[in-house]
Symmetry: C2
Subunit: 166 residues, 2 copies
DNA sequence: GAAACCTTTTTGATTATCAAAATAATTAAA
DNA sequence: TTTAATTATTTTGATAATCAAAAAGGTTTC
């Protein structure tokens, strides 16, 4: 890596580390005191747009459905989430936010909004434009990389499986 | 939030979720197969610049020293890290990377380097310049926010403590 | 109506994390 | 120069997050 790339890299790494700490520390108020950052992200992924299946939410969070089951259990117990099986297809499980869950969602959205606004406040119009452009590129880059790695790992796992069968 | 802010926010959120997944999946090769992403980040924080104290490394990772002790135990057992007490001040514990640890460090740095290069490849010279400037600002912003939230929480904890004593 | 398929939960295991208590070593104070 | 205060780390006890694989409960297909 060149010197500039190194700098950029360490800013990325440290900023990313810090963002989750910041979110965690900001959780110390009101309703949010009784949930973890992860639970909040689950609430965020369920969203206020109406019921979602467990699979949909797990895909959005990039975790297995089993992992989601565990945090949803807790969120239901704490009163942030409702869970039910629809009559038409009783295999699936729908989850949606209760009023309390929606409040938490909104508080977190406000927090994100403030964060974004404060970041943008530091930048001039041109910088803002470049940042938007860059973030889109970075996002797309990671989506593509994620998908291709996922496929690679799948293939690898299948190979191993075949060898086991032999 | 305005439309642009919303976009920026959702890129942040999703990129954020994905980066750790991507790094995890990319770990599925060679030496890196035997360590977790977190352990790799510990290796990254120890670095190749020579021995560091436990406290220094913990501060860099933004975790408690107790947490670090646990992952260093494992890294020592797996042969990535050396640990010793220096003669001149036997309170502190120094950690440093073994050859194997350095190899892992370099592999991970290469991965980061590729990541940075692919992002920069999408930008023209001017955008690159602006991005560097912008990321520095964003980084500093989050460091400042993190520090101030940390202080707030400390004060709050002290208040609660005083009330308990009364 | 049995077999194949789909969706979720459960199980068993590991890792990451913290706060608080315990341990070990040094420095300051009496 | 023993005692107290300070510093640095580890241990302990507890909880949360995670996965893969097995189990359970439904639906479709043949």
């Amino acid at each position: 890596m060149l010197k500039q790339e190194k700098k950029l890299n360490s800013w990325f790494v440290d900023t990313f580390n810090r963002i989750s700490k910041v979110e965690q520390r900001a959780l110390n108020e009101g309703i949010l005191e009784e949930i973890s950052l992860n639970e909040l992200h689950t609430i965020e992924a369920i969203g206020i747009e109406g019921p979602q299946t467990m699979s949909e939410v797990a895909a959005r969070l990039l975790v297995t459905v089993g992992t989601l089951t565990i945090s949803v259990n807790r969120l239901v117990k704490k009163g942030f989430v409702w869970r039910y099986r629809p009559e038409d297809d009783r295999r699936v499980v729908m989850v949606l936010l209760t009023e309390k869950g929606k409040d938490a969602y909104k508080l977190h959205q406000d927090f994100h909004g403030k964060m974004i606004k404060s970041v943008l406040a530091e930048l001039d119009k041109n910088e803002e434009k470049v940042l938007l452009h860059t973030m889109e590129k970075i996002h797309d880059f990671f989506v593509a990389l994620d998908v291709s790695l996922q496929e690679q790992n799948k293939e690898k796992a299948e190979k191993i499986n075949k060898e086991k069968i032999r």
